[in-house]
Amino acid sequence: MTGGFKGRDIISIADLSKEDILKILDASKSMEDNPDPNLMKGKILATLFFEPSTRTRLSFTSAMEKMGGQVLGFDSDSVSSAAKGETVWDNAKMIEQYADVIVQRHKVEGAARVAAEAAKVPVINAGDGANQHPTQTLLDLYTIKKEKGKIDGLNIGFVGDLKYGRTVHSLSMALSMFNSKQYFIAPDTLQMPDSYIENLEKHNISFVIGKDLLKYAKDLDIIYMTRIQKERFPDPVEYNKLKGIYQIDKSFLKHTKPDVRILHPLPRVDEIKTDLDDTENAAYFRQAGNGIPVRQAIIALVTGMI
């Protein structure tokens, strides 16, 4: 679906065309370059966080308040009506009476699509279980574009837990609309699921599957690090074996292009040492900051304010 954004829901990267993505990235740049503290004056954003997520919720709240809008919501299902057994559908039907736009995070996959079908006002998915988190993907794309000046023609490496990492799956899908080469660097047990590899083949996108980060480091323009999540492993021995295999520090930069950019959806554990933080190559905190203009652009677009 392409065209105007007013009234649209942002549920999945799969719903967005390349043109849509570029429009959101352009609008994000305008938000950053020319902030308007009154753009959303008189408008209300509801943040429905059935599952806690401090960074995403605060980022949306900050985005809305910097545009003069107001925010209401909750940040745990124990304080919401879900604790009383209210369905996602009913909850969205109720909240549409109170707000101009809804942001929802839920641990159940597909909950965002249901809320979007229920509510008359636009719904933005801030994560539905292991499925989608499209605003994270859009801010990742915005970061790549801002750091490197382009998205096409880059070598982009994903490192770590590629099997369970939702952000990696969505970003790979989005990048398949651009002409970048993708590198998947992970142990066999945490490699990219077949369905995402098939998607790249369908779009004729070049990709490399490997294990050895040092072997590919010199080719990469972007290194997208991920956390190897303890909770994904039924066997703690297996976790201990894999957790430290992709730790990088300042000395790692000897193996990379001088202008490589390192991204991470955060929070990190120990895969990026803090001595990297003050290098120009470390883009992960700037990446988190980019959540503000990107989310401002999305809120303003779907409410028809820009």
């Binding site: 369905t87 996602v88 996959e109 249901v114 279980g129």
Partner: protein, 151 residues
């Protein structure tokens, strides 16, 4: 033709579902509950088929399928044919085709999908017809023929 009739006897009135892959024939059989169904059902398995190799055939006397039932057959056996029989003659032959959007007849195999948590009608997009590949409209999980469970 004569040989086939010996293997699976002809019916006077009813429905013949033909060209079912043998391995899903019993699944399709479950569209009717044989305990409740009053009329004759004849089942053939592992019959030779030029089109699909080993096939199954189900003949149900005095049974005419609903659109939902035909949709379920299309999902499980996209190459099947459904023949309506009146007085021993085929009066209508339908090559089943899964619709682009399959509503309510299939269950999502993902236990963490909202359709398995709340009362939501399932919806699946047909990504590929043969071999069939479906994508859940809600949780976006893809499934192949082995994962398909009917509602």
């Amino acid at each position: 033709m004569a040989e086939k009739e010996i293997v699976v006897p002809a019916i006077k009135d009813g429905t013949v579902i033909d060209h079912i892959p043998s391995r899903v024939t019993l699944k399709i059989m479950k569209l009717v509950d044989p305990q409740e169904f009053e009329h004759a059902i004849t089942l053939g398995l592992n019959l030779f088929s030029k089109k699909i190799g080993k096939k199954g055939v189900i003949k149900m006397s005095d049974k005419f399928l609903t659109e939902d039932e035909i949709e379920k057959i299309a999902v499980l056996a996209p190459l099947a044919t459904v023949n309506i029989i009146k007085n021993y003659e085929i009066i209508k032959k339908t090559h089943v085709h899964p619709p682009k959007l399959i509503e309510k007849t299939v269950k999502c195999p993902n236990p963490n999908c909202i359709t398995n948590m709340e009362k939501i009608t399932t919806k699946f997009h047909v990504e590929q017809e043969e071999p069939i590949k479906l994508k859940c409209h809600y949780c976006e999980r893809s499934m192949t023929k082995d994962d398909i469970v009917l509602n």
